[in-house]
């Protein structure tokens, strides 16, 4: 995976995680373009699209769009699963997660994502393990 973006229906970015190094300007440009492209798509359309030389996989959960950019050889359905797994983790952690949770606790969302993916690859597929690690780290914080 090259990057993951979360944004609202109004086009506001809630989370961005980049697994490749790009200069800031480029990141902004990519983000802007991608958000407009995805928001323009109708609800019944399929979740995959080709953009530049990447494949974009996106899914909408309530008012949030989860969007991932993967390379040509990567598996799209697998990415959808990753997105779903992430949402499930957030749900478990925050207890019935909503967009506001992610807005106010964005750093926690990042930490969870960091436990799920590392360097763009799946790190831990077991929900239990991820949540255990997060809990332990939270404990350390106290």
């Amino acid at each position: 995976m090259q990057f993951m973006l979360l944004f609202s229906r109004q086009g506001k970015l809630r989370l961005q995680k980049w697994y490749v190094a790009h200069p800031d300007k480029l990141k902004k440009k990519i983000t802007r373009e991608l958000i407009t492209t995805i928001l323009a798509r109708k609800p019944k359309m399929c979740s995959f699209l080709e953009w530049r030389d990447l494949k974009i996989v996106y899914k909408r959960y309530a008012s949030l769009y989860f969007c991932c950019a993967i390379e040509q050889e990567d598996n799209e359905l697998l990415t959808l699963e990753v997105i779903h797994r992430y949402v499930e983790l957030l749900d478990k952690y925050f207890g019935s997660v909503c967009e506001l949770d992610i807005i106010f606790n964005f750093e926690k969302a990042y930490f969870i994502l960091d436990e799920l993916l590392l360097g763009g690859e799946i790190q831990e597929t077991s929900k239990k393990n991820v949540l255990k690690a997060i809990a332990a780290q939270d404990l350390l914080q106290e």
């Binding site: 970015l13 809630r14 989370l15 961005q16 980049w18 697994y19 190094a21 200069p23 800031d24 902004k28 983000t31 109708k42 019944k44 359309m45 399929c46 979740s47 995959f48 699209l49 080709e50 050889e73 598996n75 799209e76 359905l77 697998l78 959808l80 699963e81 807005i103 106010f104 964005f106 750093e107 990042y110 930490f111 960091d114 436990e115 590392l118 360097g119 690859e121 799946i122 790190q123 831990e124 597929t125 077991s126 393990n129 690690a133 332990a136 780290q137 350390l140 914080q141």
Partner: protein, 876 residues
């Protein structure tokens, strides 16, 4: 809350002394910084006043005060939640609010207290997400990262992963810190460092830290091992030398008891294998075992993908895999079939996928089908109906995928319908990438296999014309134009029809890029009306204008011929005036190419005008003695029209030339292709065309004298080999057929009076004479910094006109012609004496004996019909 209770404490302490209470209250109310000193002094005073207070208590008081001050300050600080809330509340003046927050943050960062700093960094992270640049805070982030408290560290590392760049110089500062983290006892700290590192690891960091990460691979905690394994992949990407020592350890991890670590290792090997499958072939048995025994779907998918990368190298592997893969396919719908041996099964399953109502599955089914199409087109064709259905889908992505598949689906019968459908789509899809895709697809489909599927070329031309009429980006216009050219050139029968269509188009559109190529086609036939509409153009991009000018002359020649035969000199003169007017404008154009063509055309037209006037005058008076050598005006045999001379410029068939034709021309003996002839002065010589070279080549074999044989041919070859692309070839062919092939007599006359006016002209000098010799005198006098474009403008056509002119020269008895002949022979003699001038090649061209035909080169070309890209003009 905590802070308030602290103050309360202080107040309680102070309650012993009644004054103290007031003082603390004043601390609260007044600005903290300025009051601090005062209160400190006051405290000291109080302490001194009250003897009961020991020194210990005094210092305690001081500390408490300090804390109060700090807390009060911090009380007014915003924490992250406040920031977010504030931004949400200030939607209308967001920028102002945020800049104010930035100021606060900068203030906080100047404090020594790490927790304050980390608060600021947390806020900065949020702002970075919103899109504000925080790279100026790099140092501060590193400071926070170095904190010993986990909370603060976490914030620091998060900020780092968001904002650090692998090319940032700050990274050097982090190396040791990260190393310390990696070796720490706390697995979560190590994990934190690893996670963060993966986002910005640079080559230096990779090199320095690879050993540490490697040791972590054998850590006792699976959590750490897992992260380390994944991290190794990133390290390998940046620092490939680390792979070799690390590889055995990585292999061990494939057998790790912990499933998380195992799947991480599988992941890494899979990604690595994608880049370099050969090295991982030895691991195939391990993966096979994993595949058959594991139930972890995620891992299975990765393993299948890995096998997909490995099987092309090891065919036996493929056979072995069929069985387990088919089992998998039947039992779970995981991953996409990617093995050629189970194609039938795959295609069946794919059909099911495509028929599924879920758009995602449809998309994937189509995607997989297109991959199979490349290797097994027949099996996909069976599902033509389904694909055509998908074309109608509302979803653009699916339509695009179906388009890709269409390539293999067309046949003679359904081509027209399909294209019709696609055109309808194009109408609907204004201004999107989809449209461009559609266009290129249509053209691709229609032109495959040398137009194998097109039964009615007229229909195809109309389609192309309709396409041209739609609005496209300039790139696409070029594609259409090229396609039109292609069709017209290859399909003789269709030319009349095509030309009529083009003429219509011209009337309607005069400023679109497609038409550059159309003009080429118009060379063959064009009514007068077209000429006038062409003259109406105002502003065109440079290359189009130059082609336009070119073609104006061509058309003018045709029209003139028609008129001349009917002796309608007035019409011709009128046309001449029109053209001259237009050309005079173009001569002032900013573009080099346009200027040049315009000026040459101008001269030509002017000369023609004179001649026509003369002819007209002659026609009106009694014809004088034709043989009178003193007669200054040329008497032209009525049957020989001036137009005919002009037309010799443009006669000739266009035939495709094989791209390898140049290479296939045999090298004559005794010719060393690599030896330099002259110092490599003339860079412009490199513009010459291959076919021209070939012709020269052949001729030189047969007719040229030994003395000249090696030099020009080598040079021509050099030139030829330099200009191999078809585009240059035919465009230069165009160039050649243009002004440079002016009929000898006209150009000579023009040159004569140009030379008289040219102060730089040195009579008898080879270079100017020769470079002028091609008839581009007009360009010499234009005050433009011009390269010797003259050099390559010797031509196939030139030889033809040589031929014609020599025939003409024999027939015509005008003194002028005689003069020119003498001059020509003069020049020949002078040519013979010059060996080493840089323009030796040019002279050679002119020197070719009459009767030299291109028939030889024709036969060369006739045999090479595959991949036809180049065009060559051959004599009829």
């Amino acid at each position: 809350m905590e802070k308030v209770s602290e103050i309360d404490n202080i107040v309680h302490i102070g309650n012993k002394e009644t004054d103290f209470k007031e003082d603390t209250l004043t601390i609260k109310e007044k600005s903290v910084d300025t009051e601090y000193d005062e209160t400190e002094i006051k405290c000291n005073e109080i302490a001194q006043k009250e003897e009961c207070q020991s020194a210990h208590e005094a210092s305690f008081l001081k500390m408490a005060l300090k804390k109060v001050k700090g807390n009060i300050e911090r009380m007014f600080d915003k924490n992250l939640t406040d920031l977010v809330r504030g931004i949400r509340n200030n939607k209308e003046n967001e920028a102002k609010y945020i800049s104010q927050c930035m100021e606060d943050i900068k203030q906080e960062l100047r404090q020594d207290n790490l927790s304050v700093k980390s608060n600021a960094v947390a806020k900065l992270t949020y702002l970075q997400m919103l899109g504000y640049d925080i790279s100026w805070a790099g140092f501060n982030i590193i400071e926070v990262m170095s904190s010993s408290k986990f909370t603060l560290k976490r914030i620091g590392y998060l900020a780092a992963s968001q904002s650090f760049h692998c090319d940032s110089e700050l990274l050097m500062l982090t190396t040791n810190m990260i190393r310390k983290e990696l070796n720490s006892q706390n697995q979560y700290e190590a994990g934190l460092a690893l996670t963060s590192l993966s986002c910005y690891i640079s080559t230096d960091l990779a090199r320095d830290l690879s050993n540490d990460i490697l040791t972590l691979l054998s850590s006792t905690k699976p959590y750490t091992r897992k992260k380390a394994v994944l991290m190794m992949y990133k390290v390998f990407l940046k620092y490939p030398e680390a792979l070799r020592p690390a590889f055995p350890r990585l292999k061990e991890k494939l057998e790790d008891p912990d499933p998380g670590v195992q799947s991480a290792a599988v992941n890494v090997v899979c990604e690595l294998a994608r880049k370099n499958p050969k090295n991982y072939l030895s691991l195939a048995p391990v993966f096979f075992k994993l595949m058959t025994t594991s139930t972890n779907n995620w891992m299975l998918i990765k393993i299948i993908k890995l096998f997909g990368a490995l099987t092309p190298l090891e065919p036996r592997l493929g056979k072995k895999l069929i069985e387990p893969l088919t089992n998998l396919i039947h039992s779970i719908s995981s991953g996409m079939p990617n093995h050629a041996a189970s194609i039938q099964l795959c295609v069946q399953k794919l059909r099911i996928l495509i028929e599924d109502s879920d758009q995602n599955l449809k998309y994937l089914g189509l995607l997989a089908m297109s991959k199979i199409l490349k290797t097994h087109p027949k099996s996909v064709q069976a599902h033509k109906d389904l694909i055509l259905q998908c074309l109608e889908d509302k979803d653009e992505s699916i339509r695009l995928r179906a388009l890709d598949l269409l390539y293999g689906m067309v046949s003679k019968k359904n081509l027209m319908e399909i294209v019709k459908k696609l055109m309808v789509h194009m109408d609907k899809a204004e201004g999107t990438i989809y449209r461009d895709e559609l266009l290129s697809k249509i053209i691709l489909i229609c032109s495959q296999n040398n137009y194998q599927f097109i039964t009615n070329f007229e229909w195809y031309i109309t389609v192309l014309v309709e396409l041209a009429q739609m609005e496209f980006g300039s790139k696409q216009g070029h594609v259409i134009g090229a396609q039109l050219m292609d069709v017209c050139i290859r399909v003789q029968a269709i030319r009349c029809f095509a030309v009529a269509e083009m003429a219509q188009l011209l009337d309607v559109y005069t400023a679109t890029s497609q038409f550059t190529i159309m003009q080429e086609v118009l060379e063959l036939k064009a009514p007068e009306r077209t000429l006038e509409s062409m003259l109406k153009y105002k502003v065109l991009p440079q290359h189009i204008e130059s082609v336009f000018i070119q073609n104006i002359i061509k058309i003018f020649a045709f029209v003139m011929e028609k008129h001349e035969l009917n002796e309608q000199y007035d019409d011709i003169l009128r046309l001449c005036d029109l053209v001259i007017e237009k050309m005079s404008e173009s001569v002032q154009s900013g573009e080099l190419e346009v200027q040049e063509r315009a000026s040459t055309s101008l001269i030509i037209i002017k000369i023609v005008q004179e001649e026509i006037l003369a002819k007209k005058a002659v026609g009106n008076t009694i014809i004088m003695d034709v043989d009178d050598p003193l007669e200054s005006k040329p008497i032209v045999n009525p049957k020989e029209t001036i137009a005919a001379e002009l037309l010799t410029l443009f006669s000739g068939e266009l035939n495709p030339v094989a791209p390898k034709a140049q290479k296939k021309v045999p090298v004559p003996e005794g010719l060393d292709l690599d030896a330099w002839i002259n110092e490599p002065l003339e860079e412009s010589d490199s513009d010459s065309e291959p076919e021209m070279t070939e012709n020269l080549f052949v001729k030189s074999d047969k007719f040229r004298s030994d003395r000249y044989q090696p030099e020009p041919t080598e040079d021509e070859l050099k030139k030829g080999s330099l200009a191999h692309s078809g585009a240059i070839a035919w465009s230069v062919t165009r160039l050649q057929t243009g002004p440079s092939t002016t009929p000898r007599d006209l150009s000579r006359e023009a040159r004569k009076y140009e030379q008289e006016n040219n102060p730089h002209y040195l009579k008898g000098s080879n270079s100017t004479e020769n470079s002028n010799g091609n008839g581009n005198e007009g360009t010499e006098n234009i005050p433009v910094a011009e390269l010797n474009l003259n050099a390559p403008l010797k031509v196939v056509g030139q030889k033809r006109s040589d031929k014609y002119l020599s025939i003409n020269a024999n027939k015509k008895k005008s003194k002028k012609k005689g003069k020119k002949k003498k001059r020509r022979s003069e020049r020949y003699s002078s040519d013979e004496n010059v060996d080493q001038g840089p323009t030796v090649e040019i002279k050679q061209v002119m020197e070719l004996p009459e009767g030299a035909t291109l028939s030889d080169s024709e036969s060369d070309h006739a045999h090479k019909d595959d991949h036809i890209e180049h065009w060559i003009l051959i004599s009829i």
